[in-house]
Amino acid sequence: MTVVRDDPGAAGEAAGNVPTATIRFTINGARKIAEIEPRLLLADLIRGGTGLTGTHRGCDTTNCGACTVLVDGVPVKSCTMLAVQVDGRSVTTVEGLAGPSELHPLQEGFKAEHGLQCGFCTPGMMMAAKGLLDRNPDPTEEEVRWALSGNLCRCTGYQNIVKSVLWAARKLREADGSDGS
């Protein structure tokens, strides 16, 4: 015989006995307030909370880097950071690279150099690359490979991903030059 009954804990949780925290943060420039459980992971706040599903959850074990986002400009694995830790901080996801009707040079580069096949790892690759190019606008191929070594791709073998990032670096440097800056 199978008996299913109400979980008495559920009523308590519904009554608000689950500890929550209120956090204020910025995501892609928009200011947000969230009421969350402290155990919520940043990846889940981004995907479930803000609906920005460009941040992919791949391995969920800190190995693959598909969930990479920038926190205060630094690329991190969002599956390995608590959402509550971005209180007062700024998060950038792949959706924040460029506006809805334009492409960031990194996105252009991945298109021009065929830097993706299935595309699952691509947002994480781009955000890790953004972290690199913000720090080093003129990286060598070796430096690109080094910076992306925490991001796994199971389709392309990395060759075109590296080319894509180098393409973006050139484009960004040219844009800087034309600004006279």
Partner: protein, 296 residues
């Protein structure tokens, strides 16, 4: 995956953090970089009742040389801070060689050296480095600060000498008496994997090139970080020649106690210890010179 429920505290001062730790029962964990703790909580290997997040504590993200030549790494200095540090590259060859080999670049942006020491994983790279350097950990509790030698700090796998209401606030490398040389080599199947075998060598040499102080430590080749004391002692008072290097490498390989697993056989790992120690002693600082961090 998500961690089990816990109460979360984000103190703004070290004193507040220590006080919270003292009043949080017997299963509170300090969260620094979280690159080991959060995965362990997600896998339910760790289920702390309370998390004390120290990331908002001011003034702990430093690494600096002391006036006496000692070297200090604060509890919130990230691996990446050390990887990109010119000060580290100029003064601490063993640490500078290890920093770029910790985990992967994304993990290095969050994880901390002091947190790695407190995590006390027998495969941890930094524990081997700090044991080779005869380093120390400074712990702060309600009664003040105390300094714990690295060799006494780790008391077992994932266990340290920290009391439940103490926070490790910095790691210290004592000043060198001679010219500092050394390096770290790690065999890993892929970036981010644990070390199949890691070897840290830290030497100080006198004006004539003879070794006046030596530390050799291994990770990944036993149930604990291995302090290869006999191998290091064999170098004292000697110039670094092929015979003494072979003696030390053989003693280090003998001190290793690896098991056979999917990363390799015990014989293979012991052989790699011999190879790594030979390389590190034959060309101290070569591991560092080969790293892109200093070439750039």
């Amino acid at each position: 995956m998500f961690p089990p429920r816990f109460a979360y505290q984000a103190p703004r001062s070290l004193e507040e953090a220590i006080s919270l730790l003292g009043s949080s029962g017997d299963y509170a964990k300090v969260l620094a970089g979280g690159q080991s703790l959060v995965p362990m909580m997600k896998l339910r290997f760790a289920s702390p009742d309370v998390i004390i997040d120290i990331n908002n504590l001011p003034g702990l993200d430093y690494h600096r040389a002391g006036p006496d030549g000692s070297f200090h790494v604060g509890a919130l200095a990230r691996h990446a801070d050390l990887e990109w540090s010119s000060l580290l590259g100029q003064t601490q060859p063993t640490m500078a060689a290890a920093a770029p080999l910790i985990a992967d670049p994304l993990v290095r942006n969050r994880g901390t050296l002091v947190g790695s020491l407190c995590h006390a994983d027998p495969q941890g790279d930094w524990a081997a480095v700090m044991i080779a350097l005869k380093g120390q950990v400074v712990a702060q509790g309600p009664a003040g600060r105390r300094t714990i030698d690295m060799k006494d700090f780790v008391t077992g796998p994932f266990e340290t000498a920290l009391a439940h209401d103490e926070i490790a606030v910095e790691a210290v490398v004592p000043p060198a008496q001679g010219a500092r040389k050394g390096g770290y080599l790690k065999l890993e199947r892929r970036v981010g994997d644990f070390a199949t075998c890691g070897a840290a060598v830290a030497l100080e040499t006198g004006p004539a090139g003879d070794v006046i102080k030596a530390g050799i430590a291994l990770c990944g080749v036993g149930g604990a970080t291995i302090d290869a004391v006999d191998a290091a002692d064999a170098l004292i008072g000697q110039p670094l020649g092929p015979a003494v290097i072979d003696t030390a490498a053989s003693l280090a390989a003998g001190a290793a106690n690896p098991g056979s697993d999917h990363r390799g056989s015990a014989d293979y790992k012991r052989h790699m210890v011999h190879t790594f120690v030979t390389r590190l002693l034959t060309s101290p600082n070569a591991a560092l010179d080969a790293s892109m961090r200093t070439a750039a």
